[in-house]
């Protein structure tokens, strides 16, 4: 295993940890807003770390740029989805949004 492979394993594993934490948060957190918080952390950092890990495996600049573009798009879409869901939950019923136990 060379240095690039080792870096890939390290970054991808770190990304997987964030995804796992985000999923556990989504399942275990009590209300919509903290769940959204957990989920977007997984999206942003988890995917970012995995993208960094994969960059060490790509052989061309075009592939690296595509990977980064995917990350940026996922960031934009994720934060917007989070915003839309949060805004909808808040507008629907602020009490439910923070006290809900089961959606």
């Amino acid at each position: 295993m060379n240095a690039a492979d080792a870096l890939t394993v390290i970054f991808c594993l770190a990304g997987a940890v964030f995804f796992l934490a985000g999923t556990v948060g989504l399942l275990r957190f009590p209300d919509i807003f903290s769940r959204l918080h957990a989920l977007t952390k997984a999206d942003n950092l988890g995917l970012g770390l995995i993208v960094i890990g994969l960059i060490f495996q790509s052989d061309s600049l075009a592939a690296i740029l595509k990977l980064l573009l995917i990350w940026i798009l996922a960031l934009a879409a994720g934060s917007n989805a989070c915003y839309a869901i949060g805004r909808f939950a808040l507008a629907r019923s602020p009490q439910d949004a923070v006290r809900e136990d089961d959606p």
Partner: protein, 345 residues
């Protein structure tokens, strides 16, 4: 194949079965729709595992993305009681979609319909299993297609099969989409397709995202279309992206259809089917078969036909959504635009 891959594939198969079952048996129709979207994404993964990225792309774009949007929007429109706009507002809540479930199960013919559907599905499954067992190891017509690839005008075997060897199939697929659109046109009228009140602004963040994403979506569609020549991609994937751009713009409140004359919309809807037809018939003139492109021009013709098909697919996909969102004349009750009205109160 190593044991880890075996384990992953088994897990994926189990996940698909569970998701399919959940989609069928979920308590609320809203949950069913969400499970169906997850099922579509799982299917896309399964196609990737089967080394069929073309199908995976189409499945993710159409099966999970587009169909998901249409299902959720249908649910929003049709789960609303026909009378009383005051109650309608509450019924946009996901949880209240259960009213729709309750009505279905109370329907007298529902049981018979369900049995019939089960029997039909079981029959289809039996036919498919027999087909899989009978395929054998040769891989069907793979070798023959690869042998003919040189004269097809493209380098990617899937595109060669879809647009040249079996162009008939793709032509009819575009025709099926066109027919579905005509059905919507018959039910909703031209207003349903082009008019209807445009939704309110969905808020600064979303409209910023949509303004940034639209050119990127069109660019990606063109990229996929061009890529179809040598790699996974093609008219359907590109068309769905164009349609998605239209849907996003409409959600953001841009009066997209107002900028296009009815003639332009009609042209866009029929372009794909028509172009196939023109080149199909033109192939007859020198004495060839229908849709048998001359070898010398095949690449250019395929690109032209695919571009036309992608534009038509985009228009058709957009028309499906536009009809739904204008159906009740109040598309502003879309989830992400609703809170803005509340904020301004």
């Amino acid at each position: 194949m190593n044991p880890l891959e075996h384990a992953l594939d088994t897990l994926l198969c189990l996940l698909l079965l569970v998701l399919a079952w959940k989609a069928l048996r979920a308590e609320h129709l809203y949950q069913s729709a969400i499970f169906f979207i997850a099922f579509g994404l799982g299917m896309a993964l399964a196609w990737v595992r089967l080394a069929a990225p073309d199908v995976a792309l189409a499945e993710a774009a159409i099966g999970a993305g587009l169909l998901g949007v249409l299902l959720l929007d249908s649910l929003r429109v049709f789960s609303r009681p026909p009378n009383g706009s005051g109650k309608a507002r509450q019924n946009t809540d996901p949880g209240d979609a259960e009213t729709a479930t309750a009505t279905t199960s109370r329907h007298p013919g529902a049981r018979a319909t369900r049995l019939l559907a089960t029997a039909a599905a079981a029959g289809l499954a039996a036919v498919l299993v027999t087909a899989i067992v009978r395929i054998g190891d040769g891989g069907g017509l793979t070798e023959e297609a690869a042998g003919q690839l040189e004269g097809s005008g493209v380098e990617h075997p899937v595109t060669a099969v879809l647009l040249n060897f079996r162009g008939y199939d793709t032509w009819l697929e575009v025709g099926v989409l066109f027919l579905a659109m005509l059905g919507i046109y018959c039910a909703g009228g031209w207003v349903g397709l082009t008019g209807g009140r445009e939704p309110d602004s969905p808020g600064p963040l979303l409209s910023w995202l949509i303004r940034g994403l639209t050119p990127l979506l069109i660019l990606t569609a063109a990229y996929l279309l061009w890529l179809g020549k040598e790699a996974p991609g093609g008219a359907f994937q590109a068309g769905v992206l164009i349609g998605a751009a239209g849907i996003l713009l409409r959600l953001a409140g841009y009066p997209l259809t107002a900028h296009l004359s009815p003639g332009m919309v009609k042209l866009g809807l029929t372009l794909g089917f028509g172009t196939f037809l023109v080149f199909g018939i033109a192939a007859l003139i020198p004495g060839g078969a229908f849709l048998e492109y001359p070898e010398y021009w095949a690449g250019e013709i395929i690109l032209l036909v695919e571009t036309a098909a992608a534009i038509s697919i985009g228009f058709t996909v957009f028309a499906f959504f536009a009809y739904l969102s204008s159906r009740d004349g109040s598309p502003s009750e879309e989830h992400n635009s609703k809170p803005s009205t509340t904020n301004s109160d």
